[in-house]
Amino acid sequence: MNTSLRTALAHREDLAWLDAQGVERQLDQAVTRWPSLGVSHDALVRRLVDVIERCTPAPESLEALRPAEQVLVVACLQERPGAIEALEATAFGGLRAVARRFKGLMTEAELTQRVRTKLLVPRERTEPQLATFMGATSLARWVRVVAVRVGLDAARADGRRGARERALPSALPQRDPEFYWMRQLYTDDFERVLGACLDALSSRDRNLLRAQVTHGMTLDDMARMWGVHRATIARWLRATRLELVAAVRTGLRAETGLSESEVDSVIALIHSAVSEGVIARGLAKTS
């Protein structure tokens, strides 16, 4: 006789959907989705009890837990034959695209192996990450995010990604000619003023600039990230840039007050990478 989910969760009076008819039938259907894996009804119930107890807020329906995908999770955690193959066939489809983004750092096979290890191998006495799948999204999408994190961790360990993404204050002048020339002319003041103006922006506006300037994201990608239409992103960005340029100009005027005629001598000073001794020697030799 199978244990029912209602019985196992008798103390959870808040879960009214457990009393609806058909819950047990849905569980059986989920189990028969992968008959060859041999996951029992009871094992699935135990798994769902575990998931439900961890969920906050409490799930509103059985579907919200994706019982069929939880069967796969149980099979993998129990190391059942064919379980890993079934998991990969169901949820690893997006890894190819992720691997392309981290090309040069690892091959698709390498990424797959690392995701496999991360999902299935317990680390430092913690459970395998697959056990934390709560069903809030599809298993495939969740695995894709896991893969992206694996890629980012590898890039960070490799020290590459960090170097490529410059800080916003130094990346902005490379992209925006107006900032570029302001920095050429006012080096130290510019850095300080730009930093202050960036600090004064709202978190969202700073994030938008960062996404576009240092992460090179497209409007469509940003729209997905913020969950709004691309036109909204474009409008937000335009407003942010205008606000920033105006603030930097005002800040620079207040800080420096250099006249046009002084610009030439400022230009001559902007290069700081070469010591004054070298400058003097170089000039002496050309004169």
Binding site: A136, W142, R156, Q174, S202, I279
Partner: protein, 907 residues
């Protein structure tokens, strides 16, 4: 969410599915780069991703444009070694029905374009489908679209009208094949280097005689350029394209200020306006009888008549205006024939005779290549120099650049009339950098013009420097200026002079002097606003920073500025120079992947660019690609320099090294022998490259199992290489490893100790090569059962490697593994745990390193088992090790051992 709380994978997935955004999410992302990067990466649309190698042939370089149906990318055709524009349909962007329709359109576009061969139509090379991606490969036209003329970069009106007449002839060729373009507009017409228009994008093209609806494609075209019959959905004909072309011409001549068909015509020259008025007739039957007739009418309208204004009406409006035929003589007219003085049959004969006096010059491939290049350059000059001169008549920098190019050409020809051996080695490189494209890029440079005599003198000095004739170059630079220079011109002269002296100092290895001169040049460039000058000076400063102690920090600062400058004023040649400097920076920073990314991003096909690739691919472990790259480089060099040139030997040695790493030992041995033979024949005294190619030969022989011959090759390499040569210690180290395999652990120990000493002397105490030699020494000691000494060697090596390459470098793993296994032999399992775990983590970051990773994981598992008794953890590790060893397809014994362990320890 709490502002300090990081996002879980589950939350990120939910956010991307449109789930509710937690409160304070932006505040958290603002301060947490890790969460920001995770969300940003996960949000990127992976559907956009296209394989880097389309159809196994086209390597994608960058995006040229993007539209509703797909993208146009610049790509390199790896089979025919040329650049192409690749139009790609994104199957993910359509539903099943829409996709079929879009595929049909793309195929029809290819079919339409492939049938037409005309200089004013972009050629189609190939069409196909691969992995659900439909693509067309077409000729890549370097340049902007006609839209850029509207945006403010148009040549003078006569040139515009004549260019449009050419486009009309191209469309006439399409009409002759019963193809109507249907979407003629400025953005579908590209302007090539010579200022000719190339009609492209036949995406809407169809056979004539049917309306859009009849053909089932829906009404399409671009509002503003659509003919009335197209808007009305009536049957289309050739005259439909005439209307679109005429509207485009009006848009260019009025800089986009006309909004209606007839508007703007009143401001144009009467004759041009008359021709356009007919083409813009509402009734297609009232337009010119054919596209050819339209082209001829346009040409007649601007045929020069003394003292007439073409766009007189527009002068008052301040929009544009030019005298078609000025009474003054055209200074560009005689430019084309100026090359004849330097290159003619008599000169060619004399050069042939001079070349035959030298070993390299006697090679028929080399001699033919030099003559062919001189011919091509001369032809380019005759064809393009007058056109460039006219097109950029208002930019003195372009004319000055042309004078420089002519002077440089003359120096090369003079040098070849009485060359030395060194000249012949340097000439191919000098010739390869000679290009008139560079002059086109100078149009926007702000430097004031110098007197022609000085320009030529400075250019000659540059070429002499390039050829290694530093004394002659210095003498030229030290000569006084031809005339007393005006104060306004002095900085421009100073800039060129400083750059010239800096280059000489750099070639002479006087790095500090070179830095001083480059800096002086930079100041002059800033003073006169010369972007090209700033770029040259900053690239020079970056190179000098790299040469004086590998100062990558300063080099980066300079090159960042160069990148910004080149974004503002694009310049292909300088872009490549900057990219090669970046490659050096990344290599010195021990980041070969970034070096390679940078190299690939330049998409250049020059020999300097190609020569840098195989080595980087090898370091990255991408051996099969390294084989292809090195083989391609060898072929290119052979075609350019002949099969006996030492640079061919160098390329072959790289090729052989790549083959060895790919496990193709027989081929590697053959190619390495050829490399050695080239060096042996090139000079009576052994060259340095000969030693290096012998090292490569030794490696190939060793891997093939011919240990005796390998030993001979290594020993010969050692007899050729001077002891202070950086390769000497590495060859010694290889010799040691060879001895270890032969079972001579004590001989190996001796060789590795010698290698350590030599590498210390040549590379410095803490160089990573010294660390790696310690790894081999440790192994030799381990094999002799001297575990404590071995552990010390591994520990020393690890310390050096960590200091040289940082703690995260994967090469640390082999030393940590060595430390771990020595401790296990001494049954110090607790002490072995940490290094073995660290080795596992480090190797996890290396692509395709399954074999080593499997072994390290297995060793870690055993240490876990013995030290902690945590069988589940050990089991998880062994399972991962088995997966690694299975993926490696090698080391069957290790795999069997790991599997046996699993069987002995069931869950």
């Amino acid at each position: 969410m709490d502002t300090s709380e990081c996002l879980t994978d589950q939350q990120v997935a939910q956010l991307l599915e449109g789930g509710e955004r937690p409160a304070h999410l932006d505040a958290h992302l603002d301060r947490c780069e890790a969460c920001f990067a995770l969300l940003a990466e996960a949000a990127r649309e992976d559907a956009c991703a296209v394989e880097d190698l389309v159809a196994g042939r086209y390597r994608l370089l960058d995006t040229l444009g993007q539209g509703g149906m797909g993208r146009v990318l610049r790509a390199h055709d790896t089979v025919l070694d040329r650049e192409v524009a690749l139009k790609i349909l994104r199957s993910e962007a359509f539903g099943a029905e829409g996709l079929e329709n879009a595929r049909a359109r793309l195929r029809e576009e290819a079919r339409c374009m492939a049938g037409i061969s005309h200089p004013n139509i972009v050629h189609v090379y190939d069409v196909g489908e691969t992995d659900g991606t439909v693509y067309i490969a077409m000729e890549y036209v370097r340049g902007a679209s006609v839209q850029s003329w509207i945006d403010g970069d148009a040549p003078e009106p006569t040139a515009v009208v004549l260019a449009f007449a050419g486009a009309a002839r191209g469309l006439a060729a399409a009409h002759a094949h019963a193809v109507i373009h249907r979407d003629v507009k400025p953005s579908n017409m590209l302007v090539d280097d010579t200022g000719s228009i190339r009609v492209s994008d036949f995406g809407l093209a169809r056979s004539s005689g049917a309306s859009d609806q009849e053909r089932g494609f829906g009404r399409s075209g671009t509002p503003g350029f659509m003919a009335p019959e197209q808007t009305a959905g009536d049957a289309l004909c050739e005259a439909t394209d005439q209307y679109g072309l005429a509207r485009s011409l009006v848009a260019v001549l009025t800089r986009g200020r006309s909004t209606g068909a007839a508007e703007g015509l009143d401001h144009l020259d009467r004759r041009v306006a008359g021709v356009l008025r007919i083409a813009l007739a509402g009734d297609p039957r009232a337009r010119h009888v054919s596209m050819t007739a339209f082209a001829e009418a346009l040409e007649r309208a601007v045929r020069p008549r003394r003292g007439r204004w073409v766009a007189a009406g527009l002068l008052g409006a301040g929009l544009l205006g030019a005298l078609v035929s000025a009474p003054e003589p055209d200074p560009c007219a005689t430019m084309g024939s100026a090359i004849d003085e330097h290159w003619n049959e008599a000169v060619a004969r004399s050069i042939r005779g001079a070349l035959s006096q030298h070993t390299i010059g006697r090679d028929p491939t080399f001699a033919a290549s030099v003559e062919r290049t001189l011919n091509t350059h001369a032809r380019d000059w005759t064809e393009y120099a007058p056109a460039l001169c006219r097109k950029h008549a208002q930019h003195p920098a372009v004319t000055r650049c042309l004078h420089e190019k002519l002077a440089a050409y003359a120096v090369v020809v003079e040098t070849l009339s009485a060359p030395t051996d060194a000249d012949l080695q340097a000439v191919p490189r000098t010739l390869s950098t000679w290009s008139l494209h560079a002059c086109r890029d100078r149009a926007d440079d702000g430097a004031p013009p110098l007197p022609r005599a000085d320009v030529e003198r400075l250019a000659r000095a540059e070429v002499l420097t390039d050829l290694g004739r530093l004394d002659a170059a210095t003498a030229l630079l030290d000569a006084p200026s031809s005339i007393d220079l005006a104060p306004s011109v002095r900085p421009a002269y100073g800039l060129r002079l400083a750059l010239g002296k800096a280059t000489i100092a750099a070639a002479d290895d006087r790095v500090d002097d070179a830095r001083g001169f480059f800096f002086a040049a930079l100041l002059d460039a800033l003073r006169i606003g010369s972007v090209a000058g700033q770029v040259d000076a900053r690239i020079g400063l970056a190179s000098m920073a790299l040469r004086s102690g590998g100062d990558t920090h300063s080099a980066r600062a300079e090159l960042d500025q160069v990148t910004a400058l080149l974004e503002r004023v694009p310049d292909e040649q300088r872009n490549e120079e900057a990219a090669l400097a970046w490659v050096d920076v990344h290599e010195l920073d021990n980041d070969p992947q970034r070096a390679l990314d940078t190299l690939d991003a330049t998409a250049s096909n020059s020999l300097a660019h190609r020569a840098a690739r195989p080595g980087l691919l090898l370091v990255l472990g991408r051996y099969s690609e390294a084989v292809v790259a090195a083989q391609g480089l060898t072929d290119a060099l052979e075609a350019e320099l002949g099969p006996r040139h030492p640079r061919v030997g160098d390329a072959k040695a790289q090729w052989a090294a790549a083959l060895t790493h790919s496990g193709r030992f027989d081929e590697a041995v053959r190619i390495a022998r050829e490399a050695v033979a080239i060096y042996d024949a090139a000079s009576e005294s052994p060259l340095h490259g000969s030693g290096w190619s012998l090292d490569v030969l030794g490696m190939a022989l060793w891997r093939r199992g011919d240990d005796d011959e390998a030993k001979e090759a290594f020993e010969r390499a050692l007899s050729i290489l001077p002891k202070r040569d950086p390769s000497y210690g590495i060859v010694l180290d290889n010799l040691g490893t060879l001895r270890l395999r032969a079972g001579d652990a004590s001989g190996a120990e001796q060789a590795h100790r010698a290698a350590v000493e030599t590498l210390r002397a040549t590379h410095g105490e803490d160089h990573h090569e010294v660390g790696l030699a310690h790894a081999n020494l440790g192994e030799a000691l381990y094999q002799q059962g001297r575990f404590d000494e071995a552990e010390r060697a591994f520990v020393d090596g690890h310390r050096m490697l960590e200091r040289a390459l940082g703690p995260e470098h994967p090469d640390n793993a082999s030393l940590l593994f060595g430390i771990g296994k020595c401790r296990m032999k001494r049954e110090r399992f607790d002490d072995a745990l940490a290094p073995l775990h660290r080795a596992t983590v480090l190797r996890e970051a290396v692509p395709d390193a399954h074999d080593f990773l499997g072994i390290v994981r297995y060793a870690e598992a055993i240490a876990v088992e013995r030290a902690t008794g945590d069988i589940p953890r050990a089991r998880a590790l062994v399972r991962a090790a088995v997966a690694d060893l299975e993926a490696a397809h090698r080391l069957p014994d290790d795999l069997a051992r790991a599997r046996a362990w699993l069987e002995a320890h069931p869950p």
